[in-house]
């Protein structure tokens, strides 16, 4: 048991960041977020933007999987619904301010989350995962077939971010938008988790029958988890569509679902800070692998970097998931927690 610090007033632990060390990290993050676009090149900023989109989507999956214990293989379907809703709404009403479009995308996606939640009334674990997989394929099938709306396999263009006539284009313009939504998404999720809804979700995750005996309506709170998770994914899909400017079913393959699961596992199931780290890690990984492959090729010319990269990518993704599951089930956040506790206690060991 730890004895390094005590909170006298219980209201203090209602604070979001009760520890000094946490506030310090937060302050560093704020400063970094502000100066980042000033010091990085466009490519790194592009990766950062993709990371921010991934963070929003991964928060959604973590709420569902890490906090409510409902495994979902269908996250890419929610992203797709958000993306296509954006393409359609912004396509027909280009003068609509983008925050409105993003909200519509989130709302539409969360309604489809209602459908995905229904199997969870009866199924758990692997069977539930399979039902979300079925959901994914049904959604993608509909998107492919609804050609007049979605462009089918050809995909669809999305107009620039429109803010009352002001058009936001390119990496630098997107950065503040993405950042604002990430911060908002994190704060709202954190608040949810420290109030009634979040407690009910965690209770369902840990022991559903006991949760029910404590007055938690399982159907209602599982449904809320699906709709909230879908909302986040819808917003992420919307941001993605706006940012890339063009979407097709290729952007929402099953691999995308797996990547999001990897983000949640690598970052740490049931931690928001971990989600940020996991999303960054998984988004940056292909870039690192590219560099590694290039380096290997320079050492050993017979090595075909371009053909090897896709395989290396899969290998490293798999490795990252397996290694974290085995050695640090709490993910990157678990690593941070050990470090934080060490620093809080320092120089005492206990």
């Amino acid at each position: 048991m730890r004895s390094g610090y005590f909170k006298v007033d219980y209201r203090r632990d209602r604070e979001l960041f009760p520890l000094f060390i946490e506030r310090l990290v937060l302050a560093v993050a704020v400063v970094a977020a502000i100066i980042l676009p000033l010091i990085t090149d466009r490519y790194l900023l592009h990766l950062t933007n993709l990371t921010m989109i991934a963070i929003v989507g991964a928060i959604g999956l973590n709420l569902l999987m890490g906090y409510t214990g409902q495994v979902s293989l269908g996250h890419a379907a929610f992203l797709a619904i958000g993306g296509y809703t954006t393409a359609i709404v912004a396509g027909y009403l280009p003068q609509l301010p983008f925050p409105v479009v993003i909200l519509i995308a989130g709302a539409v996606t969360s309604v489809t989350g209602l459908l995905a939640a229904v199997p969870a009334f009866r199924l758990k674990g692997l069977y539930l995962a399979l039902s979300t997989l079925a959901f994914y394929y049904i959604v993608m099938f509909i998107i492919l077939k609804a050609e007049p709306l979605t462009g089918g396999a050809m995909g669809r263009h999305i107009p620039e971010l429109n803010f009352f006539g002001l058009e936001l284009d390119g990496e630098y313009a997107f950065y503040p938008v993405g950042l604002a939504i990430v911060v908002l998404g994190l704060v709202l999720a954190k608040n949810l988790l420290r109030t009634k809804t979040g407690r009910a979700w965690k209770a369902i995750r840990d022991w559903d029958l006991a949760a029910e005996a404590m007055g938690v309506n399982l159907r209602m709170y599982k449904t809320l988890s699906f709709t909230t998770g879908a909302f986040y994914a819808g917003v992420a899909g919307s941001l993605y569509a706006y940012y890339i400017g063009f979407i097709s079913p290729q952007d929402f393959t099953f691999t995308v679902s797996v990547n999001y699961i990897a983000m949640v596992i690598v970052g740490g199931m049931g931690t928001l800070a971990g989600t940020v780290a996991g999303a960054a890690f998984i988004t940056m990984l292909p870039n690192w692998i590219n560099q590694l492959a290039g380096y290997l090729q320079s050492l050993w010319p017979a090595f075909q970097a371009s053909t090897a990269v896709p395989y290396l990518e899969r290998l490293f993704f798999g490795l990252a998931i397996v290694l974290f599951l085995i050695f640090e089930p709490e993910g990157l956040f678990g690593l941070w927690k050990s470090l934080r506790n060490y620093l809080v206690m320092w120089p005492f060991r206990y």
Binding site: K196, M214, L224
Partner: protein, 287 residues
């Protein structure tokens, strides 16, 4: 949720802190829970065979019996986890059979489980806080934006949780994940979680099983305090008669899914069938 006919009208008033406990618990001796001719079958097994019993307000009512007697099944029927094929369970005149466990908990029935059923990933405070679920009306959006009335409501309910933590003497453990606690303390947290429901009837399934003597004594003291200070009715399932003899007011003895004896502790152990059941099942004489 307001319009739900299942929730008693005074339920929203239960939102205040501890004193509201007394509002409907003061009529000592009144029957507050009654089971009539419950029959529950699992395939070929008859777990409950026409079981009837009732609990009075302000008493500790023990249910004892050998392994597989149907004690837990009875409790699970009452709290809605199992659905009996026949019979009814009445709380203030209303039949509970067929209601979902979350509705039943709102009627004032709090329970603990035979095997530990705490929320492993949560702290002591959070675990007990889950028991306040039905008392908090602010929903998802109020929570997400964390503003105004919803926050005050949450803090008010936390005050209640803190009171329970104090009552159970686990203040120093409030932020510890429950998985790190000893078995005895985990059982105590489970009791706290059930108390957070502000129940009129507390259903405890073997609360002292597997504990050492000191832990057993602590738990017995808390159960007595719950009865005396809060005026609750306690249904206490126990395997062994010893502790039951000390703290319970009335005992129902079960064997093979049937009630084979009922009465005050001292009388019950005189009943020949009870003696036979205990000697037969365990080779030991009841204390």
């Amino acid at each position: 949720m307001e319009k739900d006919p299942v929730v008693p009208h005074y339920w929203h008033r239960r939102n205040e802190v501890l004193p509201s406990f007394y509002n409907y618990c003061h009529e000592k001796g009144k029957v507050c829970l009654e089971a009539r001719k419950l029959t529950l079958r699992f395939g070929g097994i008859t777990a409950l065979d026409g079981v009837s019993f009732h609990v009075q307000q302000g008493e500790i009512h023990a249910i004892v019996g050998p392994n597989g007697a149907g004690k837990s099944s009875l409790l699970n029927c009452i709290s809605g986890l199992y659905r009996p094929q026949q019979g009814e369970i009445l709380v203030r005149g209303q039949d509970l059979v067929g209601l979902s466990p979350d509705k039943i908990s709102m009627l004032g029935l709090g329970r603990t489980f035979q095997r530990l059923a705490l929320f492993k990933g949560m702290t002591v405070l959070e675990n007990i806080f889950v028991g306040r679920h039905s008392f908090i009306r602010a929903g998802l959006l109020a929570g997400a934006f964390y503003w105004g009335k919803g926050v005050r409501e949450d803090i008010r309910n936390q005050a209640m949780v803190e009171e329970i933590i104090e009552f159970l003497e686990i203040e120093h453990l409030r932020n510890v994940p429950v998985g790190e606690l000893s078995y005895g303390l985990q059982k105590r947290v489970e009791l706290g979680r059930a108390l957070a429901l502000e129940p009129a009837v507390l259903l405890l399934d073997e609360p002292v099983a597997g504990m050492n003597l000191e832990e057993k004594e602590d738990m017995a003291r808390f159960i007595l305090d719950v009865k005396e200070d809060l005026g609750l009715a306690v249904v206490l399932i126990e395997h062994e008669l010893d502790m039951v003899m000390d703290i319970s007011d009335r005992v129902t003895v079960m064997n093979f899914g049937r009630v084979i004896g009922e009465g005050q502790p001292a009388q019950v152990v005189q009943i020949p069938e009870v003696v036979a059941a205990y000697v037969g099942a365990e080779g030991q004489r009841p204390a």
